[in-house]
C-alpha cells in the first residue's frame, strides 16, 4: 500500500506516471482525488478481465449501431468507430458553473462582434481589432455586409474547445463557430455509459444531457423567419461521404426533422423548397452542416454540387433562415481569437471569465521574431484550418519541418499564429487492463437562440496515443463521457 491507495487500486494503476501536467484523477503526490475515489474503487473491485469485456461490448455496440465516422484519404476501412474510453471524466458543479458563465459571456460577445463587423464596424473604427486582420481573413464574407440576420444571431451552435492547465484552470483553445461536430458522440457515450456502469452512474448524481436535441430544435424554431408559425426545419448535410454523416442522421432523427442534401433543394422566386413525393414543400429553417464555400455555387464556390443554387439570395431576402450564418468562420480565425478577450471588454464591459491561451500573432514584427527563434518550443497553427490539420508541434517536430514552417511564416505571416506548447491535463484511460494517463480536452456545446443553453457536459476528447497532444478524431483521438455532478 502506498500513499493511502488500497492494493487493488494500486494494481489498476501499475506505473501510472505523474508529472507537471494536471492529472484529472490524482493529486501530484499520487493520492486519488476525493472526487474520483468512488470511481477507482468500483473499477478496482471488478473481476479480472471484466473491464475489458465491458469495453469490447461497448465497442461492438457502437459498430452494430453504425456509430462510425469516415477517415479521409484512406482506401480501406473508411468507416471506423470513434475509439471510446470507459472511464468517465468528472467535473464538479463549481467548475461547471465557471465554464457555463464563461462560455455564455463568450458566445454573446462573439455574436455582437459578428453583427458589428458585418454592419457598422465600430470595433474596427475604434481600433480595438485591426481592420486588415478582418478583411484579410479567408472566412470573411463580403456578401454578408449589411444583411439583417434573424434575432441578430449569427452563431446559434458552438462547440468550444477547453483545456485545463497545470494550475487546474480551464482555458478556451478554440471557439469552433462554423459547423462544430461531435455532439452525437456526447449523447451516445452517455447512453453506453449508463448501460455499462448503471450503479456507479446513479451514485454520482450526474446531471442529464439527453435533452440536447430538443433544445437544438427549439433554438432553430426560435430563429424561423417572421410569419412562419409552423416552420419546416431541415438539417442540410453534405451527404453520406462526410465524416460526420452519422451525426447528421442522428440529430435529424432525434429532432424529427428531415435530413436533406443539396440535391433535394430547389429555389424559385427566392423561396427554398425541398422535393417530396408529394411535390415541392417550402423550407423555413436550415440547420446547415455544410461549409460556407460549398453552400451555394452561385455565390461561393461555383464547382460545388453539395449546396443549393440560389440559397444565399433566398437567405438575403429573409425567406429562409440558415444557421450558423455565413461568414461566422471570421470570428473563428485563429488570429482573431487572440482578440476575443478584448471583444468581451469592448461589447460587454466585463472581464473574461474564461482565459485565452497565450497567442503570438506572426503578423506582428516582435512576436514573429520571438516565434522564429523558438520554433522548437511552440505550437504553430495555420489560422484558417481546423481538425488538427496545418499545425506543427515544436517539441515533436523535426528540423526539416521547422525549416518548412519558418519559410511559410516568412512568406505569409498573417496565415499563422503560435502558442506555447501547453501542458494540458491528462485523465486516466483504460489501456490494456491498466489505467494510464492521456491528454484530454473538453468540448461543451452551446446553443444560442432566444436564450443561451448549454447542456451540462460535453465531449471529452482523448489523445489515445501515448504522449500525443492531438485529440482530433481524424488524427487517432478518442472520447469519453463527461459527468457534470449535481
Amino acid at each position: 500500500m502506498k500513499a493511502g491507495i488500497p492494493d487493488e487500486v494500486e494494481a489498476l494503476f501499475g506505473d501510472y506516471p505523474l508529472d507537471r501536467a494536471f492529472d484529472e484523477m490524482r493529486e501530484p503526490g499520487g493520492a486519488v482525488r476525493q472526487l474520483y475515489q468512488a470511481l477507482t474503487e468500483t473499477l478496482a473491485q471488478l473481476p479480472q478481465g471484466e473491464l475489458q469485456r465491458r469495453k469490447q461490448s461497448a465497442e461492438l455496440s457502437f459498430l452494430m449501431q453504425g456509430i462510425t465516422f469516415t477517415v479521409y484519404g484512406r482506401e480501406e476501412g473508411t468507416e471506423r468507430i470513434f475509439p471510446y474510453d470507459l472511464v468517465p471524466r468528472l467535473v464538479t458543479a463549481a467548475e461547471w458553473d465557471t465554464i457555463e458563465r464563461g462560455l455564455t459571456q463568450r458566445i454573446t460577445a462573439l455574436n455582437l462582434f459578428l453583427r458589428d463587423v458585418y454592419s457598422d464596424a465600430k470595433i474596427l473604427n475604434d481600433r480595438v481589432v485591426p481592420r486588415e486582420m478582418v478583411y484579410s481573413c479567408k472566412h470573411y464574407r463580403r456578401q454578408m455586409r449589411g444583411l439583417q440576420v434573424p434575432r441578430n444571431v449569427y452563431v446559434a451552435v458552438v462547440g468550444s474547445d477547453l483545456l485545463r492547465l497545470d494550475s487546474g484552470e480551464f482555458v478556451v483553445l478554440e471557439d469552433n463557430l462554423r459547423v462544430p461536430s461531435g455532439v452525437s458522440y456526447m449523447l451516445t457515450n452517455r447512453r453506453v455509459m449508463k448501460r455499462t456502469f448503471p450503479r456507479m452512474f446513479h451514485r454520482y448524481g450526474v446531471r442529464p444531457i439527453e435533452h440536447y436535441p430538443q433544445l437544438l430544435l427549439s433554438t432553430l424554431r426560435s430563429l424561423a423567419p417572421e410569419g412562419r408559425p409552423e416552420p419546416n426545419i431541415v438539417l442540410l448535410t453534405p451527404g453520406v461521404f462526410n465524416s460526420a454523416y452519422f451525426e447528421h442522421t442522428y440529430l435529424a432523427r432525434q429532432m424529427g426533422i428531415d435530413l436533406v442534401e443539396g440535391r433535394d433543394l430547389v429555389t424559385h422566386d427566392n423561396i427554398v423548397y425541398m422535393r417530396t413525393t408529394d411535390g415541392l414543400k417550402r423550407v423555413d429553417v436550415i440547420y446547415r452542416r455544410v461549409d460556407d464555400d460549398f453552400s451555394d455555387p452561385l455565390v461561393f464556390r461555383p464547382d460545388s454540387a453539395l449546396g443549393c443554387a440560389g440559397l444565399f439570395n433566398a437567405y438575403r431576402a429573409g425567406n429562409v433562415t440558415v444557421t450558423n450564418a455565413f461568414g461566422t468562420g471570421l470570428a473563428d480565425d485563429k488570429a482573431l481569437y487572440a482578440y476575443v478577450p478584448r471583444m468581451i471588454r469592448y461589447y460587454l464591459n466585463e472581464d473574461p471569465i474564461l482565459a485565452n491561451v497565450e497567442t503570438f500573432l506572426l503578423s506582428e514584427e516582435k512576436d514573429r521574431r520571438h516565434v522564429l527563434a523558438n520554433l522548437d518550443k511552440l505550437v504553430v497553427k495555420a489560422v484558417g484550418e481546423s481538425g488538427g490539420y496545418g499545425m506543427m508541434i515544436g517539441p515533436h517536430s523535426t528540423a526539416a519541418q521547422r525549416e518548412e514552417f519558418a519559410r511559410q511564416i516568412e512568406a505569409n505571416p498573417r496565415n499563422y499564429i503560435a502558442q506555447p506548447t501547453l501542458e494540458f491535463s491528462r485523465a486516466p484511460c483504460l489501456i490494456g487492463d491498466r489505467l494510464e494517463p492521456r491528454h484530454v480536452d473538453l468540448r461543451p456545446y452551446i446553443l444560442y437562440g432566444d436564450k443561451v443553453n448549454i447542456v451540462p457536459g460535453g465531449l471529452t476528447r482523448v489523445a489515445l496515443e501515448k504522449d500525443s497532444l492531438v485529440v482530433n478524431s481524424s488524427q487517432g483521438g478518442g472520447s469519453k463521457d463527461t459527468w457534470v455532478l449535481e
Partner: protein, 320 residues
C-alpha cells in the same frame, strides 16, 4: 417524404428481396444437384442463372463450390448476394433518420456478418448454415420493419419495392420453368420430375403452402395456378400485385396528391388480368406471353412511379 428518401427505401427493399430470392434459388439448385440422374449440373446452373434474369459473369466453370462462392460473395458482380446486401445497407445508410434504429441495426449486422471472413469459411464447410444465417437476418429485418416503423409513406415504399421485385422475379422464374410445366402430364416413376417440381415450389417458399391447398399431388397446372393466381399466398404473383396496388393507393392517400391516371390504369389492368383469368384460359393460350406481359407491366409501373413521384420536373411541380 423527400423523393431521395423514397428512392432509397424502395431500392433498399428491392435489393433485400433480390438477395433472398437468389439465396433460395441457389439453395434449391444445389440440393437438386445432390441427386444423381436427371439434368446435368451444367444445365441446372444455366437454368438458375436464367431464372435470376441472366446476369453476366456467372458462366459455368465445372466447379459448383466456386460458382456458389461467386454468386454469394463476389462483390464485383451486381447479381451477387453480397452486392445486394451491401446495396440495401448503403441505401439504408442514406436514410438513417427515416428508418428505425432497430431496422438499421438488423441490416447493419447482416452486412457485417457477410463481410466477415467466417462467412466465406462457412460457405465452404456448411452451405445451409450460411443460408439460414442470411435468410434469418433478412426475415428479422422485415419483421422489425413491420413492427417498429410508422406504416406511412416510407413503409409503403418499402412494400412497393418488395412486391415489385418479387412479382418480376417470380414471373421470370416461371418463364424459365415453362418447358417443365408444359411437359406431358403422365406420372413419372423415377421421381426426378417430382423433385424438380418440388424445387420450383421451394424457390418460392411455397411447397408447404401448396400442399395445404392442393395436397402433395403435384400437377403442373395446379402449380402454375397456385404461383400465379392464389390471392392468399404472399409469393403468388396475384398476391404481390395486390400488394403493389395497395401500396400505391396508400402512397396517394397519404400524399394528398391526385393519383396519376396512367399509373392507376396500369396497375388496374395487371390486377384484372390476374383476378379474372382462369388457369384453363391461361393454359389454352400462350402461357409464355402471359408471363411476359406481367414482367413488362412491372417495368412500366416502376418507370411511372419514378416519373410521378421521384424524378418529376420542377416545372411540373411548380405548375400544380
Amino acid at each position: 417524404m423527400l423523393t431521395r428518401v423514397a428512392d432509397s427505401l424502395y431500392w433498399m427493399s428491392r435489393y433485400l428481396e433480390r438477395a433472398e430470392n437468389t439465396l433460395r434459388q441457389l439453395d434449391v439448385t444445389i440440393s437438386l444437384m445432390l441427386d444423381m440422374g436427371g439434368a446435368s449440373a451444367e444445365s441446372r446452373w444455366k437454368r438458375l442463372v436464367a431464372s435470376l434474369g441472366g446476369p453476366v459473369g456467372l458462366e459455368w466453370s465445372g466447379d459448383l463450390d466456386e460458382m456458389a462462392r461467386r454468386l454469394v460473395f463476389e462483390q464485383a458482380n451486381p447479381a451477387s448476394v453480397i452486392h445486394c446486401i451491401s446495396g440495401a445497407r448503403e441505401n439504408a445508410r442514406q436514410v438513417r433518420e427515416e428508418i428505425s434504429s432497430e431496422q438499421w441495426q438488423r441490416l447493419n449486422r447482416l452486412f457485417h456478418q457477410m463481410q466477415s471472413p467466417q462467412a466465406i469459411g462457412q460457405l465452404d464447410s456448411n452451405m445451409s448454415d450460411l443460408l439460414v444465417l442470411v435468410l434469418d437476418g433478412i426475415h428479422l429485418f422485415k419483421g422489425v420493419s413491420d413492427t417498429t416503423m410508422i406504416h406511412g409513406q416510407g413503409w409503403q415504399f418499402i412494400r412497393l419495392g418488395r412486391y415489385l421485385e418479387r412479382a418480376y422475379a417470380t414471373a421470370t422464374l416461371l418463364e424459365v420453368y415453362q418447358p417443365l410445366l408444359s411437359g406431358s402430364f403422365e406420372q413419372d416413376s423415377s421421381g426426378h420430375e417430382y423433385l424438380e417440381l418440388v424445387g420450383l415450389l421451394r424457390c418460392c417458399t411455397s411447397f408447404e403452402a401448396f400442399c395445404q391447398v392442393y395436397t402433395a399431388d403435384l400437377s403442373r397446372d395446379r402449380i402454375l395456378e397456385f404461383l400465379l393466381l392464389n390471392h392468399d399466398f404472399p409469393h403468388a404473383i396475384r398476391y404481390t400485385v395486390d400488394g403493389i396496388r395497395h401500396a400505391i393507393e396508400s402512397i396517394q392517400r397519404t400524399g394528398g396528391r391526385r393519383a396519376p391516371e396512367e399509373l392507376s390504369a396500369a396497375i388496374g389492368r395487371l390486377h384484372a388480368m390476374l383476378s379474372f383469368t382462369t388457369i384453363g384460359e391461361i393454359l389454352a393460350g400462350e402461357t409464355g406471353q402471359f408471363l411476359r406481359i406481367i414482367r413488362e407491366q412491372c417495368l412500366r409501373i416502376h418507370e411511372m412511379i419514378y416519373r410521378f413521384y421521384i424524378h418529376y420536373s420542377i416545372q411540373s411541380a411548380l405548375a400544380m
